[in-house]
């Protein structure tokens, strides 16, 4: 493509609005896949390496119209369109193009002539050109209606695109929307949950609450399949919890954990939600240890031998009981414990090691306060207000 052609192509796109982009893509896909149908029925191996000149007459219509000569040059059609987007669509029209992808996807549900493979192509192109503006169209299209039922693979492809564009807000919302829709495949529950936790560690609890019912349904469905399916769900639950503990700062776990709603449902651990804290804290080598320490508690300080808290695990949640309170401390040791223990200056608080005081789950207290700790003692940094907020058990 010489510079004149490039200018000419860009000039075409300079006049495009959403409608024109939709038309260009839609007719481009239609012509392209009509030709592919021809190809599939043709012999795969050419009998002669040299085409007859006559066969080049009457080539119209060409896929993607004025941009046809750029089609088929790269690894895939998706790359061709990405290349056109990057190189030939003027900067101020790029957002219009990105918006048109979602619009065309929605329109395709009412267009019987729209080629089935092109629906997937649109979803993949959204990831390639980072079309955040179009992500809101994914969930409604693949999570309900005829695509949600007849073309289930589209949901996989939509989730892949949304995951690829995380942690963009639009991608988070797209995944959250999808989970709430009728045709969401519960098989993907753990996958979506970890993706959402990764994208928003400060809001992992709402992701958990969003998906816990789906996970419970998955477990119920697995029981209808066989024992191996149940075991697979349970193993996935354990795997999820390990990944979760590695991924989410202990502080965030401890801060949000008290708000988790766990019941004693007779329907089993998945319906009650207890599977999650059980996987997190129970067993010989739980992802996060709970350390119990009897301590004297006063309004000003808590004295706990720090070796106790550091040596067993770099990731721990510590429970301290006093005669008045039961607190749960999370230790997020994102520094080298050896360096910490060898420190000579204890006068400065270790700000890298924030300790969250969080009321223990079964205490029912919802207040949270934070303090720093030093090697020999916790340095209480409770604000007056925070102290006042503490509620007796």
């Amino acid at each position: 493509m010489n510079p004149t052609s490039k200018l000419s192509l860009s000039t075409h796109f300079a006049h495009f609005e959403e409608n024109e982009f939709c038309d260009w893509l839609s007719s481009g896909f239609k012509v392209f896949y009509a030709r592919k149908t021809l190809l599939r029925s043709a012999a795969r191996i050419p009998t002669s390496p040299i085409p007859s000149p006559a066969v080049h007459e009457g080539l119209e219509p060409r896929p993607f119209d004025f941009a046809y000569s750029l089609i088929g040059r790269r690894e895939s059609l998706l790359d061709d369109i990405e290349f056109i987007y990057e190189q030939y669509i003027p900067e101020d029209k790029k957002i219009v193009f990105r918006r048109s992808l979602g619009r065309l996807l929605r329109q395709s549900t009412d267009d019987a002539q729209f080629p089935e493979p092109a629906i997937s192509d649109l979803i993949y192109i959204m990831a390639k050109v980072r079309a955040h503006e179009s992500l809101e169209s994914l969930a409604p299209v693949v999570g309900r209606g005829k695509y949600g039922v007849d073309k289930q693979w589209l949901q996989y492809e939509a989730i892949a695109t949304l995951k690829t564009l995380l942690p963009a807000r639009e991608a988070i919302l797209g995944l959250r929307d999808l989970v709430t829709l009728q045709n969401f495949h519960e098989a993907y529950s753990f996958d979506v949950l970890i993706a959402l936790c990764r994208a928003e560690p400060t809001d992992w609890l709402s992701a958990f609450e969003l998906l816990r019912g789906r996970i419970a349904n998955l477990w119920e469905e697995a029981r209808k399949v066989d024992d191996a399916a149940v075991a697979a769900v349970e193993e996935e639950g354990r795997k999820f919890t390990r990944m979760f503990a590695d991924l989410i700062p202990t502080n965030e776990i401890a801060m949000q954990l008290p708000d988790i709603k766990v019941s004693n449902s007779p329907a089993g651990p998945y319906a009650s939600g207890i599977w999650f804290p059980r996987n997190l804290f129970a067993g010989d080598t739980p992802p996060i240890k709970i350390l119990h320490e009897e301590s004297s508690f006063s309004d000003d300080s808590i004295t706990v031998p720090i070796e106790v808290t550091i040596q067993p695990s770099r990731r721990a949640i510590m429970v301290c009981d006093s005669h008045e309170y039961r607190f749960l401390y999370s230790l997020n040791l994102d520094f080298n414990p050896e360096d910490f223990l060898n420190r000579t200056d204890d006068t400065q608080p270790v700000t890298a090691a924030r300790v969250s005081f969080v009321p223990l789950l079964r205490s029912g207290i919802r207040r949270k306060v934070t303090c720093f700790f030093s090697r020999n003692k916790f340095r209480d940094s409770l604000s007056t207000k925070s102290k006042a907020d503490l509620t007796k058990v």
């Binding site: 493509m1 040299i50 085409p51 088929g72 990831a127 289930q152 098989a187 996958d191 469905e221």
Partner: protein, 310 residues
């Protein structure tokens, strides 16, 4: 044109074949952009392309029958065109995972590798009828190298260079840009021998190579490859550094290879870092000059015209 000249000069293809090709070009599109001419001359009446590797002297493939051959694709190409729809269709009660196209962290990359291994060790992971090559969705050409050569190349690099980056450079994939994630797809060489539909050849100017394709290179490695019926890729890092010898990996081309889930493997190579060809050291003009050597464009035109019309 320089690659036509190199093929002619080094007798990679016969003079008659060059004449035939050039005449077809002239008949197909009397004037216009050279790339458009190439695209046009390769097109058939149904818009598909004609394969030109038949132009090459098809030498016996001297690869050990037990060897494996490798090609690379982007992760999203694999997910979209090679992974079976049945794998993308969840079944009630059975846990499923979705491969995203761009694992961001080491943890995500490990998960991707685990999941990919799990998928490709399961029967029926590939889309029925899928073929390997380019351009998808209906690949025509499949460019491949020796799996062992690619493995040696990517393992030589320091840990700071991703395997995907080194593979991109060594294979001369100039269109592979910063941030894309690549997979190596490998398959047994014996597949080429056992499939009567598959034609394989040393690549020539007519096989739709990218803009860093050299039909012929000097240098010991490239000469050895040539004598064995293999072409040689242009190593993009060597080009950027101005090395004298640009030879990368041995390469051959075939028509697209049917993917078999039992014998094909997919390995995650990671993220490509940096884009090649953006600077004067390795841009189109520099590469053209390297390819042309001391012969001027007018000399090439004169020699080729004489050969074609003579």
């Amino acid at each position: 044109m320089i690659n036509i000249f190199l093929c002619w000069k080094h007798k990679v293809v016969s003079e008659d074949q060059i004449k035939e090709f050039v005449n077809a070009c002239v008949s197909a599109v009397p004037s216009g952009d050279p790339e458009d001419i190439f695209q046009e001359v390769c097109k058939r009446d149904d818009g598909t392309k004609v394969l030109f590797f038949g132009l090459a002297a098809i030498k016996k493939n001297k690869v050990n029958g037990r060897a494996r051959l490798s090609s690379t694709v982007k992760t999203d190409t694999f997910h979209r065109f090679l992974l079976a729809r049945s794998f993308k269709t969840a079944r009630p009660g059975l846990v499923s995972k979705v491969l995203d196209h761009a694992p961001r962290t080491p943890d995500e990359a490990r998960e991707y590798v685990d999941e990919l291994r799990k998928i490709t060790s399961t029967a029926g992971w590939s889309e029925p009828g899928a073929t390997l090559g380019k351009p998808f969705p209906e690949p025509l050409y499949c460019w491949f190298t020796l799996t062992t050569s690619l493995a040696r190349s990517v393992s030589k690099k320091s840990p700071s260079v991703t395997k995907a980056t080194e593979a991109r450079d060594a294979l001369g994939l100039i269109d592979s840009v910063d941030g894309e994630h690549r997979l190596e797809i490998s398959f047994p060489a014996k597949l080429l021998k056992s499939s009567p539909d598959l034609i394989t050849a040393r690549p020539t100017f007519a096989d739709g190579g990218n803009s860093r394709f050299a039909a012929f290179q000097d240098g010991t490695v490239a000469q050895t490859n040539n004598s064995r019926g293999w072409g040689t890729t242009v190593h993009l890092e060597k080009l950027a550094k101005g090395d004298r010898d640009l030879s990368g990996l041995p390469e051959r081309v075939s028509n697209s290879v049917p993917v078999s889930p039992t014998t094909f493997t997919a390995t995650y190579l990671g993220r490509v870092e940096g884009t090649r060809g953006l600077f004067a050291a390795d841009d189109h003009a520099t590469f053209e000059a390297r390819l042309r050597g001391t012969t001027t464009v007018s000399e090439i035109v004169e020699l080729l015209t004489k050969a074609v019309t003579g």
